[in-house]
């Protein structure tokens, strides 16, 4: 179920489409659904045994892949911040990896820092084969330009920690250390994450238990920060759904230590598809039934000539969850090649806590 988050990372594919990569072919396959399997790319099949550190690195035989980190941070005075670090990979063509500039991989990076008053972001693109961007398993490093996510030795293979994370734009920068004691969480069935309606799937694991410590640079000031962080690793060869107009996706760190991932897929016909996972303190990841989730926009923000719902009421009656979410900065707009809203949120109600919200298609 949670594999549907894979679709939510469509930002990548759309961004590349802007560049002209993939182009009409990917879209046509989206319409064709199952029949339009991306021939030549490695298929996603059940029963894969995840091997670490091997699966930290890139899987170039698969069409798309990403390394995604969001962190909810606070400084010494209690002021809240958010940080986002994303590296996307897409193969333009299947087959053996070609050398040098002929290499078929294209990489895209997104990074952002958000405070109550500012939202700074940056994006960058790279071609594979020459070393400008890439991801190696051991020693682990994922990078594009000067943005890096790199293992701090000795790396724990079951927790995928500690990691060092850096990114900088022209008007922001951050450097964070990510620590975790608990093991990685394999999503779906042992990391095989099926998409219920179309039978599409991805390989997907997360580390929702990171603690980030480090500093953010904003307007010439360096701010020491710390807080919970969440990593997603996912790769797939599956085409994207064509009738989805966008999604609203939440990752929540509940004060009690539970982690919740929820999303709503908006379809062209006005219908919604809900899904989510409840990851308990014990590390168990339990899918939430579609009809168990309610998500209601409470308030909208006009940003970049769009009307975006930035305050939400979320209820999961079966889990006694009833919370009101508010953004740290309602103007967390990522005006990248493919624009979307992504920023830190805080919530109160039956549970208190912080999290991240991503909304696309507005």
């Amino acid at each position: 179920m949670s594999a549907d988050r894979g679709i939510s990372r469509r930002a990548f594919a759309a961004g590349l489409m802007w560049l002209g990569v993939g182009g009409a072919r990917a879209r046509a396959q989206g319409f064709a659904g199952l029949g339009g399997e991306a021939s030549g790319f490695a298929p996603v099949v059940p029963g894969k045994r995840f091997v670490f550190p091997g699966d930290f690195g890139a899987h170039p035989d698969f069409r798309i892949e990403w390394w995604y980190v969001t962190a909810n941070l606070r400084d010494a005075g209690g002021a809240a911040y958010g940080a986002q670090w994303t590296l996307f990979r897409q193969a333009m063509a299947p087959g053996p990896q070609r050398e040098g500039w002929a290499n078929q991989q294209v990489w895209m990076g997104h990074a952002a820092v958000t405070s109550a008053s500012v939202h700074r972001f940056s994006e960058t693109f790279a071609r594979g084969g020459v070393g400008q961007a890439g991801a190696t398993a051991a020693p682990f490093e994922a990078w594009i330009d000067a943005w890096r996510m790199v293992a701090v030795p000795p790396l724990s293979n079951h927790a995928f920690a500690p990691l060092h994370l850096t990114a900088a734009g022209t008007d922001f920068e951050y450097a964070l250390r990510l620590d975790a004691e608990r093991p990685l969480v394999l999503q779906g069935v042992h990391g095989y994450s099926r998409k219920s309606e179309r039978g599409q799937a991805s390989y997907y694991y997360s580390q929702p238990y990171f603690t980030a410590t480090g500093s953010i640079g904003l307007d010439g000031k360096t701010i020491a920060v710390s807080g919970p962080a969440w990593l997603d690793r996912e790769w797939s060869s599956q085409p994207l759904a064509a009738d989805q107009t966008g999604w609203d996706w939440f990752s929540l760190h509940l004060d009690g230590g539970d982690k919740v991932m929820l999303f709503r897929l908006r379809r062209k016909d006005g219908g919604h598809y809900f899904a989510g996972n409840w990851i308990g303190r014990d590390g168990q990841s339990i899918p939430l039934p579609s009809d168990a989730i309610e998500m209601t926009p409470l308030a909208f923000t006009d940003v970049a000539a769009r009307r975006v719902p930035t305050q939400w009421r979320i209820t999961v009656p079966a889990r006694d969850l009833a919370i009101d979410c508010a953004p740290l900065n309602a103007r967390s707009w990522m005006a990248t090649a493919f624009a979307y809203w992504e920023g830190p949120i805080a919530f109160h109600g039956s549970h208190g806590g912080v999290g991240y919200l991503e909304m696309t298609g507005y």
Binding site: G20, W101, G131
Partner: protein, 821 residues
């Protein structure tokens, strides 16, 4: 409303009765708009193509990193800088032969290309996948595709080697460039892992933050605007064009002015009648303005079409000049933006209103009943003349002040404008003085009348005569400049192209082979090695040229001035000659010192001479070739000149072509290079000359329309003479004599003015525009020729009204007495 329509109908009926007048008015409007908009179209076209070129090659908007010591450097520098957070993008570029033509092969990396460039080029929106994935694409301007004789999809070979990816036409591209992916370029040019330069995107960092060594190389930061800033380099050229366009426009307005003046004169009775019938002055004025604007709109539209034709006709010359002077590539086909059309129409309407303003004002104040009072009018005109004379003196003073104070090209044109305006304003005063003096010298009745009547005629003619004066003066000025230029240029070429055969080997290895081969031949008198590299001085590119110490150069080098033992000092390696352009730009003179950043450290040079380097937009430093190679050890040593006795030239060249497969670009004899250079430089001023001719033609038309105007209104002056017994033929003869006399006086005044204009162009405008000054020369034959052309133009313009007068019906003359206003 109906009333306005009726008034308009009445007014328009005038044109039906005088179609010739309407035609002149339209000719004026069309000529003015066409010349102005034609020049603007050329400028617009050129500027648009600079933007494109700059966008593609990263000259204007982005900084660049180059390796000053090598043509290429490893692409690991790209990765290293990217991973250090620098927004750089690699480019690999070289000239290649495709289908027997030399083109630039430009390898780019579209994914990292700075947005500033990608947005204005076709590549970002192009199908990236098709561009970078095998087999890739070769993007090319449609013109170049045609020049190469190829069609889209073709895969020609580069330097007879590897096959290019399929060609794809992209209208936005600069001609003469093939754009491929950087990986493809590395393969085509056999430069694996090498790049020519890095484009630097928007970044908060500057040259100081750059690491000392990147991938084992010391990279040099080239600030934006210093390398291929074509727009800046060519500004002077376009200012030149604009100035001439404006001049033509003004001369065209003279025609409009006299045509409207004539129409007004002839419509006076109608206007009076209309007013007497109860049409208010306001309504009448409004209708006249509406009529004028409608005519201006029509004339403007036709003029725009004419402007398009003129621009299309001149484009090849302009393109050739820009290519020859600045290396700027212009596409062969005009493409115009909507602003151009709007601006042209606006110019036409505003120009027509300005030209008609005097008539409009007079009409607004029109007394219902006014008698013709030519002589009284001339009396009033006298006061006006004094004022005009004072204004002329003021303009002259302004010209001198700008000359002394100004230091820019604009100031140069300011001097010219003030000078011409002053002369134009002074012309009626001078003519009046001359005619008064003529009148004093005579006692007989008819000559006295002749002089007096000529003076009385002046106000009506003065605008046309001013136009003639300006056109003629500018013609003399430009003609003198162009002649001076070509005389000097030929001498200069003889000095600079002293070797008999010029060779450029493909690489150092081939160069060495060629030299060994030449050494064994007895018919080659000397091999003169040459080498050149480029450095940055004060943020601008400067060529450093290595010259062999040989009698060939010692005897011929076009030194403007130097110290006595200049060549010996240069031979010692610590002194240099510099080009006039560089000397002017950096304010360096013989005795000054210059420091050049060489890979091994700074190279201090004493300046021992200044030489002419016409037509080179870059500054140049000439040093001893051995010293150059010592300071810049990586400079390619592929160029050299040969001294060969004239009878052996053909044989040596044929043998070299056969032995080393050198093409025309790599092997040329002096005569060919000279011819080519002269051809380019002759075309440099071809546009100016063409505009010049147009202007003179327009001035002739202005004179014609003025005379037509006068011939109608002057009948009351002539009728009494006829009545006292003079034949129409005599009258016509006197009229012809009078007009030719004023025209001659004007033309004679134009000659010294023209020489002054030439001096301004040579000593002020050229120096600012190009950085070099020509020796000023006067060509008397050319002056006589122009004088003849001017008189011929005046004669042609006079003939029509004179013939009309000679054949006028006696009844018409008699009517004058009945109808006199």
């Amino acid at each position: 409303m109906m009333r306005a329509v009726w008034v308009l109908a009445v007014l328009l009926s005038h044109w039906r009765r005088h179609p010739m007048q309407l035609a002149t008015l339209l000719v004026g409007l069309i000529a003015a708009t066409a010349l102005w908009s034609g020049v603007q179209a050329l400028n617009q076209q050129a500027r648009a193509s600079y933007d494109r070129a700059a966008a593609l090659f990263g000259g204007v908007r982005t900084a660049m990193l180059i390796d000053p010591a090598h043509a290429t450097f490893p692409q690991t520098a790209f990765v290293e800088l990217r991973r250090a957070g620098w927004p750089v993008s690699p480019v690999l570029e070289d000239r290649v032969q495709v289908n027997g033509r030399s083109v630039r092969l430009l390898g780019i990396e579209p994914v990292t290309m700075p947005v500033e460039m990608a947005s204005s080029s076709a590549i970002a929106r192009n199908d990236l996948h098709a561009f970078v994935a095998p087999p890739g694409r070769t993007l090319v301007a449609p013109e170049t595709l045609r020049d190469l004789g190829l069609t889209a999809g073709a895969t020609p070979r580069v330097n007879d080697g590897a096959e290019l990816p399929p060609l794809q036409a992209q209208p936005q591209l600069t001609p003469g460039v093939l754009i491929v992916d950087i990986g493809v370029a590395q393969r085509m040019l056999d430069q694996p892992g090498q790049i020519s330069r890095l484009l630097v995107g928007k970044t908060g960092r500057s040259a100081h933050d750059l690491p000392d060594r990147v991938a084992g190389t010391t990279l040099q930061w080239v600030a934006p605007d210093s390398e291929t800033d074509l727009a800046r380099l060519t500004d002077s050229f376009h200012l030149n064009l604009t100035a001439f366009g404006l001049l033509s426009f003004l001369v065209g307005l003279f025609i409009v002015n006299s045509a409207i003046g004539l129409a007004f004169e002839q419509r006076l009775p109608t206007l009076r009648t209309l007013r007497a019938c109860g049409v208010s002055a306001r309504l009448l004025n409004a209708v006249v303005v509406i009529e004028l604007v409608s005519i201006a709109l029509f004339g403007g539209l036709v003029g725009l079409v004419g402007g398009y034709v003129i621009a299309a006709a001149l484009l090849p010359d302009v393109a050739a000049s820009l290519r020859g002077l600045y290396g700027a590539q212009l596409p062969g086909a005009l493409s115009l933006q909507p602003q151009w059309w709007l601006a042209g129409i606006a110019m036409s309407v505003l120009g027509a209103l300005a030209a008609a303003s005097a008539s409009l004002v007079r009409m607004a104040r029109l007394p219902l009943l006014a008698a013709a009072q030519p002589y009284a009018w001339q009396q009033a005109q006298r006061r006006w003349l004094w004022r005009q004379g004072a204004l002329a003196v003021a303009m002259l003073i302004a010209a001198v002040v700008i000359l002394l104070v100004g230091d820019s090209l604009l100031a140069g044109f300011g001097v010219l404008a003030a000078l011409l305006l002053s002369a134009a304003l002074a012309l009626p005063v001078l003519l009046d003085t001359v005619l008064r003096l003529g009148g004093k010298g005579t006692r007989a009745a008819l000559p006295t009348w002749f002089w007096a009547d000529s003076r009385q005629q002046l106000p009506g003619l003065s605008l046309a005569l001013m136009a003639l004066l300006l056109a003629l003066a500018v013609n003399v000025g430009v003609g003198t400049m162009v002649q001076s230029f070509s005389a000097t240029f030929v001498r200069w070429l003889d000095g600079r192209l002293a070797a008999d055969v010029y060779v450029r080997a493909g690489n150092d290895k081939q160069a060495a082979e060629i030299r060994r081969w030449l050494a064994a031949r007895s018919d080659v008198a000397a091999v003169l090695p040459g080498a050149r590299t480029e450095v940055q001085i004060d943020g601008a590119p400067v060529e450093v040229m290595g010259v062999a110490d040989h009698a060939t150069y010692r005897d011929n080098w076009p030194l403007l001035h130097s110290v006595n033992n200049g060549w010996d000092r240069v031979h010692a390696g610590d002194a240099a000659f510099i080009s006039e352009q560089l000397s002017r730009r950096l304010h360096l003179d013989v005795g000054s010192n210059l420091r050049i950043a060489a890979p091994g450290g700074e190279w201090p040079l004493a300046i021992v001479g200044i030489y002419a380097d016409y037509g080179n937009p870059k500054g140049q430093v000439a040093v001893n070739v051995d010293a150059l190679l010592q300071h810049f050890p990586d400079t390619p040593q592929t160029r050299f000149g040969l001294r060969v006795a004239p009878e052996h030239i053909a044989g040596v060249m044929a043998a070299m072509r056969a032995a080393f497969h050198l093409d025309a670009r790599q092997l040329a004899d002096q005569a060919t290079v000279k011819t080519e250079s002269k051809r380019i430089f002759n075309r440099t001023f071809a546009v100016t000359a063409a505009l010049n001719a147009f202007t003179l033609g327009v001035a002739g038309v202005a004179l014609l329309t003025s005379l037509l105007t006068l011939s109608g209104s002057r009948l009351p002056q002539l009728a009494p003479l006829w009545a006292i017994g003079m034949t129409r033929r005599t009258l016509a003869g006197i009229e012809l004599l009078k007009t030719m006399a004023v025209a001659l006086i004007t033309a004679l005044l134009a000659l010294p003015l023209g020489l002054l204009v030439a001096w301004c162009l040579i000593a002020v405008v050229n120096v600012k525009a190009f950085g070099w000054r020509l020796p000023f020369q006067v060509f008397p034959m050319q002056l006589l020729e122009l004088l003849g052309v001017a008189m011929l133009a005046a004669l042609l313009a006079t003939l029509l009204p004179i013939l009309k007068l000679a054949r006028i019906q006696p009844a018409t003359l008699i009517k004058i007495f009945a109808n006199e206003r």
